[in-house]
């Protein structure tokens, strides 16, 4: 019975993926892509990867949709949202089939999995959620570099701004009717999302949750209050936003250096201090991830783009 459920779910995922690629119209593809993320989150839930399901649900429901729909709207206003119909492209089809077949073959050629021996190391990590232990302790390097990659992507995005637009507010100037449905929503949802995001970070030490999931939820509700016109659009020059961007990686780096001086090496956490250290790093990292994601989604400073 559970196999039937998985097959039904995978059939839906594949159908949506196919519609995203093959359907005509960019808007249709964007909507299909949004539903694709939702279905994928259910797929992760079926695989038992609850932390991944949470991250996928928060990102695809909260951020990807807003990003792509805003992009489609901008392209439509630049009259660049139309596209030519899909023509048959035999070489591309052959390459795509080859890649898919090679991956399918690789699945059956995979060696038997080695049993993960994290159970012995987990008590040393300071947290009960193995995924958080991997992210913040055993493979902290990856997470530190990822936080820096997010910053690099943001700086790359800001490079697209014209010189005279540098001091303009970031993204579009959102406005809404005062007292209207959207403005009220922008006041009601953020407190709930704030509590939930902080809960996810706190609970992430022991159960499902973590800095990325919490940060994404915080980013999404921050985006809501921006879009509802409750929060004014940030500017690059504002110190508070800049400080929030580097706070997380900064704390992470400092703790890494402290590990190099006082413990076994860079980013090493002594077991006695692991739990408070991880919770501190996660809290700082959550803030930075949330702010970085918000700024990535709203885009570079915008001077209206008159000189097209």
């Amino acid at each position: 019975m559970s196999l039937v459920l998985d097959i039904a779910l995978c059939a839906l995922i594949l159908g949506v993926g196919l519609a995203t690629v093959a359907g005509h119209g960019v808007f249709r593809a964007v909507i299909f892509f949004i539903t694709y993320g939702l279905l994928l989150a259910i797929g992760w839930a079926r695989l038992g990867a609850y932390d991944v399901a949470l991250a996928e649900a928060a990102i695809s429901a909260g951020l990807t949709g807003v990003l792509l729909l805003a992009a489609h709207g901008r392209l439509r206003r630049l009259s660049a949202a139309e596209e030519a119909p899909l023509r048959r492209n035999l070489p591309a089809a052959l390459i795509a089939t080859g890649v898919a077949l090679a991956l399918g073959w690789a699945w059956f050629a995979l060696p038997d999995p080695a049993a993960p021996d994290l159970t012995a190391a987990l008590p040393q990590s300071g947290v009960g959620n193995p995924v958080t232990a991997v992210l913040l302790n055993f493979r902290a390097w990856d997470t530190l570099l990822e936080a820096i990659i997010l910053l690099a992507a943001l700086i790359g995005l800001w490079m697209l701004a014209r010189d005279r637009a540098w001091n303009e507010p970031l993204g579009l100037q959102y406005h809404a009717r005062a007292g209207g449905v959207m403005a009220s929503f922008g006041r009601v949802l953020p407190p709930i999302g704030l509590i939930f995001g902080v809960y996810l970070v706190w609970a992430g030490a022991e159960t499902t949750g973590g800095a990325f999931q919490g940060g994404t939820v915080l980013a999404a509700v921050c985006l809501v209050s921006l879009m509802a016109g409750v929060l004014p659009a940030p500017r690059i020059a504002q110190t508070a936003w800049r400080a929030a961007l580097v706070f997380g990686p900064g704390v992470f780096l400092l703790s890494g250096v402290a590990g190099a001086i006082f413990a076994q090496g860079f980013l090493a956490l002594p077991p006695a201090l692991a739990k408070p250290a991880i919770v501190t790093i996660e809290a700082a990292l959550t803030l930075s991830i949330a702010v970085t994601l918000v700024l990535l989604v709203i885009g570079p400073p915008d001077d209206g783009g008159q000189d097209a």
Binding site: L5, A57, G180
Partner: protein
């Protein structure tokens, strides 16, 4: 009970398949957006059922999905407004609704 929950989840997924047909068909952009909204609600329902079936921590995923369910649609109405940043409520009130409402075909 386990079998019923499986059947329930499959039936809910099938109902989502119906909504996907509307996303494919359109015809207006609002139709597609609302069908995606239905898939969000249906996804929350499926996750609730899976939480009963597998692990109650999945309720956190359903919670995240429910909290952020409206975001895509809010982004949609924003990008539909003339400057991409407005709000359809700012438009002058519709006085002559009956004459103007039509289901006009528009592929975007």
């Amino acid at each position: 009970m386990t079998i019923w929950l499986h059947i329930l989840a499959i039936a809910l997924l099938a109902s989502l398949g119906g909504a996907l047909w509307r996303v494919w068909r359109g015809p207006s952009q609002a139709d597609r957006m609302m069908a995606a909204q239905l898939i969000g609600t249906g996804g929350v329902a499926v996750l609730m059922v899976l939480a009963a079936l597998q692990d109650w921590t999945l309720l956190a995923v359903a919670f995240a999905l429910a909290t952020l369910a409206a975001l895509a649609a809010v982004g949609f109405v924003k990008s539909e407004s003339p400057d991409g940043a407005g709000d359809p409520e700012e438009a002058p009130p519709a006085t002559e609704l009956r004459g103007t409402v039509q289901d006009r075909t528009r592929n975007g």
